[in-house]
């Protein structure tokens, strides 16, 4: 673990004699001033190695899952395997040839005071192989909620230049929902 700590120490500046090149750079951030059906990050440069997306917020209506699409692709080019805990049971599921990557929980409520958290890591997003996404969804409402780990695959060899966050259904993201995109460099 100390080795992991040292690796993370390399991800920032300000270490005096041990200064290393900076990484983990904020690319863009959006905080909704009013409800919106989607949040889009476009014209993503190929400068970094990996991307991290952090989404914190609520839905206007409950019962809809957070999803994302890459390069506006809504074809059946996505699949996922997930591990979830409901507070009562643990389970796993798989979905193949679906039209989006799954990143959130269908139990999202519409409280404006209890936000939900999703973190999404996209590896080698500018490469010419299929793209793997690793995400965690954390939703606790003091009496209900879920925690879910997803691995998603986007079966495209195109570099990712656009990420669109959506709800799987008719709900909008509520005002105050914030999405931030970071770029990580391997060297």
């Amino acid at each position: 673990m100390l080795i992991l700590l040292l690796e993370h120490l390399s991800h920032y500046t300000g270490l005096g004699e041990n200064k290393v090149a900076a990484t983990y750079e904020p690319i863009a951030t959006t905080t909704l001033g009013s409800a919106a059906s989607s949040i889009t990050f476009s014209s993503i440069a190929s400068t970094w190695t990996d991307l991290r997306l952090v989404l914190v917020g609520t839905n206007v209506s409950s019962g809809y899952m957070w999803i994302l699409r890459l390069n506006s692709d809504s074809s059946s080019n996505y699949s996922n395997t997930r591990l979830y805990g409901t507070g009562a049971s643990a389970g796993s599921g798989r979905s193949t040839s679906v039209t989006s990557a799954w990143i959130g929980d269908s139990n999202l409520n519409n409280s404006t005071t209890i936000p939900n958290l999703s973190t999404i890591d996209i590896f080698s997003y500018a490469g010419s192989t299929y793209k793997t996404l690793l995400s965690t969804s954390s939703t606790d409402l003091n009496g209900s909620g879920n925690v879910i780990g997803f691995v998603n695959l986007w079966r495209s060899t195109s570099a990712i230049t656009t990420i669109t966050l959506l709800n799987d259904g008719a709900s909008n993201f509520a005002a105050g929902t914030t999405a931030t995109l970071y770029g990580l460099k391997s060297a």
């Binding site: 643990a90 209890i114 003091n142």
Partner: protein
Amino acid sequence: MATYTLISSNVLSGSAASVTFSSIPSTYTDLVLKASARTDRADYEDYCYVRFNGDSSALYSLTDLKGQAGSASSTRFSSVTGDFFFYATASTATSNTFGSEEIYIPSYTVSQSKPFSLFTVSENNSSTNSTIDVNAGLYRSNTAISSITIQSYNSANFVSGSSFALYGISKN
């Protein structure tokens, strides 16, 4: 501009009953706490409280997902006095093994309830006492987080070599 800035770190040179990060500046967007921990509890593992602002009132809740001894389970804890799924190895575990933890706290200064995620592993080559755990947490306080305290739920001490680091992430 790069982010993921080290705010403070603590590598123990002796035992300690708790570790606290205090006077956390409000200038970042999110916080990440990473740790490598072992306690002197007479067992394979120890689970530790994570508390914010010294708050031990029942403002925390957890949805937990755990893998241990070949099985998976999920449990819910409502209105509890801290997140106690920060797993450390303990004195009976294989020597020189430490639990690894990461806590991600987004929007730690906003005036609303604060969700957070905790991922912890305790692997010590034991067939029954190694754990992987991820939980969704909620701290139902509108107060900005200015301190984080980690301590053993079982009143044990962290041992020398345990390390803790707090990072700030800025979205701008």
